[in-house]
């Protein structure tokens, strides 16, 4: 085991032990719940990272995939009393379908125009769902109130969710890791760095982007489903609101977009900060959340667009080179 393996292994161990470590503390349930929320944010931001980070196609409409993943499991319960878990694959399928349908026209746009188009489509979806009685309109829909069995994934404590989320996060990160090293991953980064040059080297730009969006949508839908399992209900604002999309972007960008653990790092910083400000100032505090996000965007844009990972690398490089400078002097 070389030295570069130490930080990731330490991080993995900390995440594994966290619920147990805080179980003795005052407000353990709250802390465990924050932990689960953190992991969920890390999953959805990691999912976003595939298309938004690696491929550089900054979607600000991922809420629609999240919403598909959240609504479908609760819908199948609402209609036919199926366990929400059964609805998850359907939710994923719906998200992939949406991705393929909206990706084809929106990928004709580039840069900010693409981002704006994704916002528009996601808002459209939210407004339609808010007025669609089958989906509970603006009230939303509810999952099973009490568990009929483990398969309903309805637990009172946050700890089972925490470990489910941790398992899913591990899967997402492993998939991303494999992708990073594959031809597909190389093609995504080439597209991000320059589409024209990428195409000249034989990268099928449109198809690759579409595949990235579909993959990303599938993982985002999983995050949505997990959200629905844990909360037991979903409404248009929580499942499809623009804040859901923005949170994915900010979380990934804060840690480092296009980096494997960037979204996780971002979530580790952002979610506790958000929970703390919300509990200090009371309420769910979306207004405050906006201010927090705005501040983060400002800081990132001004000081380190590469996010915390790049900042860390830069600091380490600065400190590492210091002793040599002394030597030379």
């Amino acid at each position: 085991m070389s030295r570069r393996h130490v930080p990731p292994l330490a991080l993995a161990a900390a995440l594994l032990l966290y619920p147990l470590a805080v179980s003795g503390l005052n407000g353990a349930a709250f802390l465990q719940d924050v932990g689960a929320t953190l992991l969920l944010a890390a999953i959805s931001a990691s999912a976003w990272n595939i298309v938004g980070g690696y491929a550089g196609q900054v979607s600000v409409g991922h809420a629609m995939f999240f919403g598909a993943g959240a609504y479908v499991p609760l819908l199948v319960f609402d209609l036919w009393q199926w366990p929400p878990l059964v609805g998850m694959p359907l939710g994923i399928a719906a998200a992939v379908l949406i991705a393929l349908v909206i990706g084809t026209p929106t990928f004709r746009l580039q840069g900010h125009y693409f981002s704006m188009a994704t916002i528009a489509v996601a808002e459209l979806v939210r407004i339609v769902v808010s007025n669609w009685d089958l989906l509970g309109a603006s009230i939303g829909i509810q999952g099973p109130a009490t568990a009929r069995g483990w398969w309903d994934l309805t637990f009172r404590s946050s700890v089972p969710y925490y470990y489910i989320f941790l398992g899913v996060l591990a899967v997402v990160l492993y998939a991303t890791y494999r992708m990073e090293r594959s031809r597909f991953g190389y093609y995504l980064r080439a597209i991000r760095a320059g589409e024209r040059a990428a195409a000249s080297l034989g990268v099928p730009v449109r198809r690759t982007k579409l595949m990235a969006l579909a993959t990303s949508a599938a993982f985002t839908a999983i995050a949505g489903s997990l959200y629905a399992f844990k909360l037991g209900y979903v409404n248009p604002e929580a499942g499809l609101g623009i804040l859901v999309s923005v949170q994915m972007v900010i979380t990934a960008a804060l840690g480092g977009a296009g980096r494997l653990v960037g979204p996780l790092i971002g979530a580790i910083v952002l979610v506790p900060l958000q929970s703390a400000t919300n509990s200090w100032f009371g309420g769910s505090g979306t207004g405050l959340t906006y201010i927090l996000y705005g501040g983060i965007i400002l800081l990132l844009a001004r000081f380190e667009p590469g996010g915390l990972i790049v900042l860390w690398q830069r600091l380490r490089a600065t400190f590492a080179s210091k002793p040599e400078a002394v030597h030379a002097a």
């Binding site: 093609y187 980064r189 195409a199 080297l201 990268v203």
Partner: protein
């Protein structure tokens, strides 16, 4: 026949960039595309590479019709291309850059890496393969661009100005590299402005696309004596050529100008003088630094070193909006019109630096007198104008700030010969009225016809200067430095 391009045309809006270009390349050849700027080399190149769809004509590669195939299909079939500006994936490592290319034929990571390393060794980049590509300077980026394409295992390589921006010794190495690549059996089509390269490389000059500046057009004009252009210049007013820009106190004096774009050197060392009331031409091939020089004088790019003095006052480093009021105006390459605005609004936007509103009406009047076509179209959106009208508008807009020095960047680019003729007549008239003109132009005969004095730029340096008549007579100068149409015409395919 490996590549057959038949009567390929491409227009952008009303602007015909390429008409009826025909080129055939046999397997194993090296073919050079030469010709002045505006001849359509880049457009032709991009059509063959699949970056642009032609408006007309046929392109076949190895018998397969690729006229409308996308760029990635071209790569798949074995057509590789480099870019004039290398388009490096800066955030990726040098190895990863090459691996993107290698993945085309090797889907396994290990195979792609082996192929990429092989090509990095060939191009001499293997020692720094793990470094970020962003650290590379221009020569390194060009090498990497070549390595990346080689990794796709092309049968035909299209090299777009692989040598522009390199120093002479780097150029020698690059030529060596091109020869090595050719020796491996790859067919090469190269667009290169540095004429020695193609002439010395025993390459076959391939085509002279576009009808714009064929020898016939320009030769006729050149035989006409200077000043015999309808509005003849009074002999007494014509200053003696020898004194121009040399002894007279210059209105504009640029000394050892240097402009860098990051690692890329746009202008390495340019010095020039423009005397009051003269026309000075800035000649040289594409990438020689003409545009950058003009942009630096106009304050549009940051000057890295050197000085620019206007009527004795240092203006280097001043922002563009502070330079225009001092009497310098630029009519930029590609016109840069406000296409959503009307013709008149465009003209008025050229006059924003005027402090006295009373000047506005006479200036507008003058612009419409110079270009009656603009008066006809004053309410029309600039985006609907033809290429010639756009050039008139760009020129008219520059004149609206009532400049003392008018700078023009490639005014003839992409215009029909008749329109060019008209435009140059107008410039001549402006000159008669005492306007000082600094003109960057790739169409050498045209520029020398109107200019009193000329500077030749090559790879960002002034390499030659002299009175226009003298340069006009110097065959060697024309052939080597300016690559005029005659050279290519003799070898037309």
């Amino acid at each position: 026949m490996l590549l057959e391009a038949e009567r390929v045309s491409r227009s952008f809006g009303g602007f015909l960039a390429l008409s009826d270009a025909t080129l055939t390349v046999e397997a194993g050849e090296i073919v050079g595309l030469i010709g002045p700027n505006g001849a359509g080399k880049s457009t032709f190149f991009n059509c063959v590479a699949g970056d642009l769809a032609p408006s007309g004509g046929r392109i076949r590669f190895n018998g397969i019709d690729v006229t409308y195939a996308p760029a990635e299909r071209h790569a798949e079939l074995g057509i590789g291309r480099t870019f004039q500006v290398p388009a490096t994936f800066e955030e990726l490592s040098i190895l990863d850059n090459a691996m993107v290319g290698a993945f085309l034929r090797h889907h396994r990571r290990a195979d792609a890496e082996a192929k990429a390393m092989e090509m990095l060794r060939l191009t001499g980049l293997d020692q720094i393969a793990r470094q970020r590509a962003g650290i590379l300077g221009t020569p390194g980026r060009k090498r990497l661009g070549i390595a990346r394409v080689l990794a796709t295992e092309p049968r035909l390589m299209l090299l777009d100005e692989a040598l522009a921006g390199l120093t002479p010794s780097e150029i020698q190495q690059a030529i060596e590299l091109v020869r090595r690549i050719h020796a491996t059996g790859i067919t090469i089509v190269i667009v290169e402005h540095i004429m020695e390269v193609i002439l010395a490389g025993r390459a076959r000059p391939g085509l002279q696309p576009g009808p714009h500046y064929r020898a016939g057009n320009t030769a006729g004009r050149r035989e006409r004596p200077k000043g015999d252009r309808g509005l003849s210049r009074p002999p007494s007013e014509a200053p003696a050529p020898t004194s121009l820009g040399m002894t007279a106190t210059p209105a504009l004096e640029v000394a050892n100008l240097q402009v860098r774009y990051g690692d890329l050197v746009g202008v390495a060392d340019v010095s020039l003088r423009v005397a009051e009331g003269t026309v000075v031409a800035l000649l040289g091939s594409n990438g020689a630094g003409k545009t950058t020089t003009l942009n630096a004088i106009a304050g549009l790019v940051r000057v890295s070193a050197g000085s620019i003095a206007w009527r004795g006052m240092e203006i280097a480093g001043l922002p563009a909006h502070a330079i225009v009021p001092r009497g310098l105006a630029l009519s930029p390459e590609g016109w840069r019109l406000f296409v959503q605005q009307t013709v008149e609004q465009n003209l008025l936007l050229g006059a924003t630096v005027l402090t006295d509103r009373a000047q506005l009406a006479p200036l507008l009047e003058r612009a419409y007198q110079l270009f009656p076509r603009l008066a006809e179209r004053r309410r029309q959106r600039a985006g609907t104008l033809s290429g010639g009208e756009r050039q008139m508008l760009a020129l008219g807009r520059a004149l609206m700030s009532d400049p003392k020095l008018l700078m023009l960047d490639e005014p003839s680019l992409g215009l029909a010969p008749a329109v060019v003729e008209q435009l140059y007549d107008t410039l001549d008239r402006l000159h008669q009225h005492g306007l000082t003109i600094l003109l960057a132009e790739q169409s050498v005969p045209l520029a020398l016809e109107i200019a009193d004095y000329a500077y030749v730029l090559q790879t960002g340096r002034t390499v030659l200067e002299g009175p226009a008549e003298q340069l006009e007579r110097d065959e060697q100068v024309q052939r080597i430095y300016l690559g005029i149409a005659e050279t290519a015409g003799e070898h037309r395919a």
